[in-house]
């Protein structure tokens, strides 16, 4: 349990371009604050930069400009300026991320993979899968799962970890919206600062405390 309001993710003037000679701007001075106990939902059309934003927030992409700052109580860390060891530690101990990636030894049962990612027990991982009606995946080797099922395991692991910062890239594509909404509410009640992305018309609008649309590299807020 995190004290309400103790956690916060602050994004300041975040920009990211891709390409060599003629770089394409994906994010252009994005600003965002997600406080503990809240869910900020960023919707956008395909290729609007939602996944790029998530990857900048979780330390996978290094932004070209701007800062991503994490606050927990009196502690503040600028992830963009942090050394790789600190970024790796934040990713494995403080940030629960879901971005479609799940690197694991292929023969490991899904429940063990989820338990290791979340640093929780196997039984807790099975219970987390059951919340998304996916308990039957628990004994299956992760390498034999369909992509959609791997995503379910990755999302269950991210939410099982109960970390103060939660960053999810289009979680609705992997599980049913009602189960997801109740899991996110539970994480908000526990004091987590949550940022999630989704397609326009996302069902998460109903539980989001703030929402905006990512368009032409910037967020246009319509609920704050």
């Amino acid at each position: 349990m995190i004290a309400q309001g103790a956690a916060a993710i602050t994004v300041t003037d975040l920009s990211k371009r891709f390409g060599g000679a003629a770089p394409t701007g994906v994010l252009d001075a994005v600003n965002l604050i997600a406080r503990g106990g809240t869910l900020s939902l960023i919707v956008g059309a395909p290729c609007s930069g939602k996944s790029t934003l998530v990857r900048c927030l979780t330390g996978v992409y290094r932004p070209d400009a701007g800062e991503v700052t994490f606050r927990l109580g009196a502690r503040v860390l600028n992830l963009t300026a942090a050394d790789p060891r600190t970024v790796a530690w934040m990713r494995s101990h403080r940030i629960a991320s879901f971005d479609g990636q799940l690197a694991a030894a292929p023969r490991l049962p899904a429940a063990i993979v989820a338990a290791r990612v979340a640093q929780r027990s196997r039984s807790a991982a099975v219970a987390a899968l059951a919340r998304f009606q996916a308990a039957d995946l628990a004994p299956a080797p992760i390498g034999r799962l369909r992509t959609a099922d791997r995503l379910t395991v990755a999302l269950a692991a991210a939410l099982l970890a109960e970390r103060p910062f939660v960053v999810l890239d289009e979680p609705e594509r992997s599980v049913d919206p009602d189960s997801l909404a109740s899991s996110l509410k539970r994480a908000m009640d526990a004091g987590a600062a949550i940022i999630a992305t989704g397609a326009p018309g996302s069902a998460l609008e109903s539980v989001a405390t703030a929402s905006g649309e990512l368009r032409k590299g910037r967020i246009e807020w319509h609920k704050q």
């Binding site: 103790a6 990857r55 330390g59 996978v60 992409y61 290094r62 994490f70 927990l72 109580g73 009196a74 502690r75 503040v76 860390l77 600028n78 300026a81 942090a82 050394d83 790789p84 060891r85 600190t86 970024v87 790796a88 530690w89 934040m90 990713r91 494995s92 101990h93 403080r94 990636q101 690197a103 694991a104 030894a105 292929p106 023969r107 490991l108 290791r116 390498g143």
Partner: protein, 295 residues
């Protein structure tokens, strides 16, 4: 610009609100090693800009230059790079097989290991352990039983009671998935994957502070590789050691390591979180390496 260590507030890693990792278990600073007589221009005439690690002036090979990194307990660092990039020389320095020309390595409470007064042979048993690509080249005894190879390490650690040694060796080999009926078979009758398991069992005898893995899955068929990955992951988590893995296989490194350093012409050209290096590489050589992956 703010750095991670320019942290607002006291960097107290023991509290639940910390945003910094615990202090590293292993700290490597400025490790450099060259083969050959060396000259004043070796550093200038080698490296990224020069496009070679061989000094034109004196013919020396600057195998590693100014390599620095830190690894924490239960952390796995991957080292990648093409053949001749300096991976093996770096690993040999960390394993105390080579004393580098410059640099230091602090492991736990032990000051610069390169200048340690204790015999390097003893440190290789107690502090730094390497799992080699080729088990038979790693000092294991091919004609002895798997159990005896593990027992040899137990004896080296001071164990003397036969029943205790036998029980412990059996337990370790079983933990690593070797069926009991094979424990007394000669090592040379084992497959590559099984030999790697015996090496890992030896590493578990006396958990080292620094575990080095040299291409642990190279040369194994995909099925054996998949099984061994699970074993290696369990061992690195169980031991609590700092682990450095060298591999050509980026998929293996991605699964096992949370961070990667990229070596090219003996220099670290990029280091970062594994996903960073593999999905958003910044250095041209890393971009080439990542784009050369077979998908």
């Amino acid at each position: 610009m703010m750095t991670a260590n320019a942290f607002d507030g006291l960097a107290d890693w023991t509290d639940g609100e910390s945003l910094l990792p615990p202090p590293p278990l292993v700290s490597v600073r400025g490790v450099s090693h060259r083969f050959g007589p060396g000259c004043d221009r070796c550093v200038e005439l080698t490296g990224e800009e020069a496009g070679t690690n061989r000094c034109h002036a004196c013919g020396s090979v600057v195998a590693v230059h100014d390599a620095s990194f830190e690894v924490g307990s239960r952390e796995v660092l991957g080292v990648v790079g093409e053949s001749g990039s300096g991976k093996t020389t770096l690993l040999r320095c960390l394993h105390l097989d080579l004393v580098p020309d410059a640099g230091s390595m602090v492991v736990g409470q032990q000051e610069n290991m390169f200048q340690a007064t204790a015999a390097h042979r003893e440190l290789r048993r107690s502090t730094v352990v390497m799992v080699h690509q080729n088990a038979l080249a790693a000092g294991l005894y091919p004609r002895l039983a798997a159990e005896s190879n593990v027992a040899e390490r137990l004896l080296g650690g001071g164990a003397r009671a036969f029943t205790g040694i036998h029980a412990r060796a059996t337990e370790l080999l079983s933990e690593l998935g070797l069926q009991p009926e094979r424990h007394t078979d000669a090592l040379m009758t084992f497959s590559g994957g099984m030999q790697q398991r015996v090496q890992l069992a030896r590493a578990l005898v006396d958990p080292p502070q620094l575990l080095l893995l040299d291409e642990p899955t190279t040369g194994l068929d995909p099925s054996v590789q998949a099984d061994l990955l699970d074993v290696v992951q369990r061992v690195t988590e169980t031991l609590g050691s700092a682990t450095v893995i060298v591999s050509h296989d980026l998929a293996v490194v991605r699964i096992l390591a949370s961070r990667i350093v990229v070596l090219h012409h003996g220099r670290i050209v990029e280091q970062g979180v594994s996903e960073q290096i593999l999905e958003d590489p910044q250095h041209p050589y890393t971009q080439l390496l990542v784009s050369s992956r077979l998908t």
